[in-house]
Symmetry: C2
Subunit: 358 residues, 2 copies
């Protein structure tokens, strides 16, 4: 796996991440395909919208359809018929979000499946092994993500576990050409612990570094501050990935701190609940005022949805819970995010990121 | 509106129906787009699958989004961004299916909306007016569809109303170039009444004739018998449309009796519930035996779904209630129906319908 920086504007950078499946222009947004599908969106649409990498979830896939099936079919790319890169999370974040149904010990975690209540065990070796069998282009190490707010001593204790799991993940990871493994910086809202986490991460010489433990309920200021602080400590020649972020302005702020990669359910989940991102602001399409509106969702968008359909039609589809309501709004939102990243990359190349409005 | 017969095999015919929007090869299957959308299927997919006409429902559209909206936007074609033909039913069949919530009088029907319980009135003039405002390429007259079983005298009484409503529908209908209006033959399972209904219909000189009042619970034998009997009484130079049918073998049987047009929710509704039509028989994709099956739904199908995805993946999507599960199975089923009609037309041209297996 190869990463090179092509252009810089302050700390922001335009780069190119080359994997087994081809080149990915960074900063990049990765649509979330939890269950081996970006909900409602075909691969043809993803390709048309220029997405070269998606994210999928180890935790969800290990429960459904289960690893035996995906392994037998020949990996996640083949299973979902997607011939581009896939980054998989390690399951750590999602296991933690189960709350009381999780028992964390020094060696790993035990939790009850949200599907059938069965006890399931996950640890560093297993998380890496699953991602190997998925054939993930980018695997993530297994770590613990702490809730917010969380005390210094609890965060420190959790970090110790994560450092250990991270090392074990790296040891368990088997190299494949054009594939890579990323470390994850934790440490909650404590800069001292973030610094310690970066130091420990660097010892493993990962192919990239993620900033984890954010988007957990902290303030905007904390998000910006911790992201900038952590990003600044990471090696310049490796991709930096801010996990689970986010809103367009959060992405822009993080890019300005030197972050290269993003994922978030926002454009897809919002699409399914009738919220559209547009160049003129957000639109709640169910709002009665759109019932008679024959203008497109976004007059400045060139996606198939905006070229073909009126707000009135989309209002009708979403109000009637029609499948195409979810499909069309998700399609448009992903186009908005794809264009957002394109505009960000252009602005960096033109040394004009400061004037970019999102 | 123009209809010509190009080829015959026994009573079966290949024809061409030319409307304002272009030519339609018959026998034709019309996918059902109840609420101004063929559920889960984009117009690009419909076009790729060679559908030149779809059906939509007056009853549903008058309640949601309501006629004011579609009229204001400029008609149903513009509303749903569909640049091909649309046939709309008149609402009669669906109103009747509301059962006890309907009061039928000589002049029309009063019913409670299934959405908000409000009282709604529908009669011949209103049904035709709504279809005019929808801009329907083919409008259907307003009639009464009787349940099954139903006595001779009740069927006869109902038919009298339908005859009257049919005449009033024709009077209310306003001609537009490339558009047309179809009569509907009723009369239940009674050939004498079917004959009477045909006679009355012919007095109106409609652009085409539908056979209604079937697919209501009668036996296969009755369906075949009444269809053949009625079709035989209809003028050869006008399109014949068997409403709400159906299964591939029912379509084939009706084609052999000289029927040209069909609609049914079967391929779309089945797609959403995990039933696929294939050249090797029906497949219930949720069945556990498909969990590890890496072969396509139908090895003899050239649709995008069969070219890209395994049964294992489709099984996973449908079991997980993923949007694309419904989308992909519906897409495939519509391809199956499109190919079915193409095979039927080819067999007629080759004078070989007798050997066609569906």
């Amino acid at each position: 796996m190869n990463f090179k920086i092509l252009s810089k504007d302050g700390k922001a950078r335009v780069g190119e991440l080359e994997t087994f499946f081809g080149k990915i222009a960074t900063p990049v947004f990765m649509p979330v395909g939890t269950l081996a599908t970006v909900k409602g969106i075909t691969k043809q649409t993803l390709e048309k919208l220029n997405f070269d990498i998606i994210l999928s979830n180890t935790y969800h896939l290990m429960l459904r359809p289960g690893m035996n099936i995906i392994k037998k079919i020949g990996g996640l790319n083949k299973f979902m018929s997607w011939n581009k890169s896939i980054l998989t999370d390690s399951g750590g974040f999602q296991v933690m979000s189960l709350g009381k149904s999780v028992i964390v010990d020094k060696e790993g975690v035990t939790f009850r499946s949200h599907l059938d209540g069965k006890l399931v065990r996950l640890n560093a070796e297993k998380a890496i092994d699953i991602q190997y069998n998925l054939g993930s282009t980018i695997s993530m190490i297994f770590d613990e993500c702490v809730p917010f707010p969380y005390s210094y001593s609890d965060t420190e204790e959790s970090l110790k576990r994560s450092v250990n799991w991270s090392k074990r993940s790296m040891q368990a990871y088997k190299k494949r050409k054009g594939h890579g493994v990323f470390g994850i910086v934790q440490g909650g809202m404590y800069k001292e612990l973030r610094k310690l986490s970066v130091k420990e991460n660097l010892e493993n010489d990962f192919d990239g570094y993620a900033i984890g433990g954010l988007a957990v309920g902290e303030s905007k200021e904390q998000l910006i501050d911790i992201t900038a602080f952590t990003s600044n400590l990471l090696p310049v020649n490796k991709p930096r990935y801010l996990m689970g972020i986010g809103y367009p302005e959060d992405i822009l702020n993080a890019v300005k701190s030197g972050v290269d990669m993003f994922d978030c359910v926002l454009p897809t989940r919002s699409g399914r609940t009738g919220l559209a991102f547009t160049s003129l602001g957000n639109i709640k399409i169910k709002n009665a005022k759109y019932a008679y509106d024959d203008s497109p969702l976004d007059p400045n968008c060139n996606c198939e949805v905006c070229l073909s359909y009126s707000k009135a039609y989309l209002h009708h589809l979403v109000k009637s819970s029609e499948i195409l309501g979810s499909v069309f709004l998700t399609h448009h939102n992903l186009c908005f995010y794809s264009n957002l990243m394109k505009r960000i990359r252009s602005a960096i190349r033109e040394n004009n990121l400061i004037n970019l409005k999102v």
